[in-house]
Symmetry: none
Subunit: 140 residues, 2 copies
DNA sequence: AGAAATTTGTCCGTATGTATC
DNA sequence: AGATACATACGGACAAATTTC
């Protein structure tokens, strides 16, 4: 049965579980995770669901998977998980003179700013800010 | 049958197909894609495979999916994927408060700013500014 | 070197839950 | 309320890469 998911899909709960294991140190850096087939038994989920959970952690850079070998925890996760969350931010900012000119809007008009922070070992390497015109959602 | 994939997984070929349709304009910006169930028929793949393909395009920001509604092409693309001819500029700028905090430098200290302007037909779609610490010759 | 076992990758079909029209 | 569409989940099958014996 597809379970009554929603509110918290199974694969997300599993991802959270595994993420805790990694960040808590229960799974040391570079450690090999149990095989997907083992996780299906341990976590009582189908392999597809397990793989969905692993895909999340892979996206977050917490794990690395190699075909035929297995899945490891990323050997260098110096940055906390919270950092990853703060990596990107999206907000409305007033256009400065140059942006206003480029977008052909008035100075001070709202622009969507997306900021991404790239760190290495906790050190900020680069900050990227992209600006776009806000989407105007029209009603029906 | 799991088909003889590999060399080019099915979901990737499908993603490429759909990406072409979008970038070529066959699927205009904001257009509603056929339902996943329709794509299974048209592209002869299971829904899971179709969804894998859509996940790629979603990741690329080419499409937007809404539960119960459908999947659209992103109303404002073109700023990202292709589109060469981007104007770039590089200069030193004083760090604002946030940048100073992120780079652990003082407010007003110099940062290298690289600005790229993405246009489509003369219209500015996106402005990207990246900030880095200036390179300084230091000892080892 | 080679065969077998292990592990991840891909794909299918089906069923059910939830959101939207 | 019904139809449509996306989301989640299961189980099975085979392909490909890696490791082990």
């Amino acid at each position: 049965m597809p379970d009554s998911h929603y509110g918290q899909p199974r694969y997300r709960a599993i991802a959270n579980d595994l993420r805790r294991r990694i960040l808590s140190g229960a799974l040391p850096q570079g450690a090999l995770l149990p095989a997907e087939s083992s996780l299906t038994v341990e976590l009582r989920a189908s392999r597809g669901t397990i793989r969905q959970a692993l895909a999340i952690l892979r996206e977050e850079g917490l794990i690395i998977t190699e075909h035929g070998r297995g899945t490891y925890t990323n050997p260098n996760i110096s940055g906390r998980d919270q950092l990853a969350k703060l990596e990107t931010r999206r907000r409305l900012v007033p256009a400065d003179q140059e942006l206003a000119s480029l977008f052909a809007i008035e100075v001070g008009a709202a622009l969507v700013e997306q900021q991404r922070i790239m760190r290495t070992g906790g050190v900020t390497e680069e900050v990227v800010r992209s600006y776009q015109l806000p989407l105007v959602a029209d009603d029906t």
